[in-house]
Symmetry: C2
Subunit: 134 residues, 2 copies
Amino acid sequence: MNIGSVAEKTGVPAKTIRYYEEIGLIPPAIRAENGYRHYGRNDVETLRFIQRARRLGFSVKDVGNLLALWRDKKRASADVKAFALNHIKEVERRIAELQSIRASLIHLTDRCHGDDRPDCPILDDLAKAVVLSQ
Amino acid sequence: MNIGSVAEKTGVPAKTIRYYEEIGLIPPAIRAENGYRHYGRNDVETLRFIQRARRLGFSVKDVGNLLALWRDKKRASADVKAFALNHIKEVERRIAELQSIRASLIHLTDRCHGDDRPDCPILDDLAKAVVLSQ
DNA sequence: ATAAGCCTTCCAGTTGTGGGAATGTCAAGA
DNA sequence: TCTTGACATTCCCACAACTGGAAGGCTTAT
């Protein structure tokens, strides 16, 4: 299978597959006579794994660790779980931060009448005050 | 005031102030005889504005637009409000995405017993299945 | 004189791709 | 057979928003 077919099957763009190879996330592909990269089923499976983990917000580096755990058939499931729980904590931190930002923004916009007049508490507060800060 | 004092007063690192100048977010600072950048109260105020807007998740480009709105004393408050509401929508999209990711991760970890045994639904699902997908 | 603590510019690295150029290869149709 | 289109290759640049570091200049105090 050429890189284009793999890209189609996995949803990972060809360019990204080459990048993953370059940074060592996946091993170098076997080359055909013409120099084209050649892939098999395992490669597709691996790239799907990577794609799903990426969609779950794991960094590429994290995905590397997950792949290592995946390949190590003897690791304790506790290790994997700890890793995932850690990532959940990180996601929750980001959610909390965004929610705090959202609250501040809503506070600002609520007090802005939003008509033709120029005075606007949003900019006033950005300029002068601390907005809903701790 | 030298760049270091401004950095201290505003919380924006000196390096970042130079960067903002370079990309045109703030105008080039006046230089003293010795080539040092020199700042006044307005500059501090502007950088505080920028800092607050950045903390509210506005991109640097967005901050540029906010600064323009801020300086244009005659713009309608509706313009500013629309801008902010738009940003709220964007923040809410990001929150929703993260919450969906979080739900998937929790679904995975809940089914992983997390002990010494090697079998782990987290990796199994990443490898084989579509996780809580639409 | 020298040391510390500022300041300056410039260059490179970060994360995870995407775009595009220049070039090579393959399969199919006129 | 020649050409055309759709692939593939490598290489380098760009993005966002900084951050770090090197190499050097200025100021002030000791």
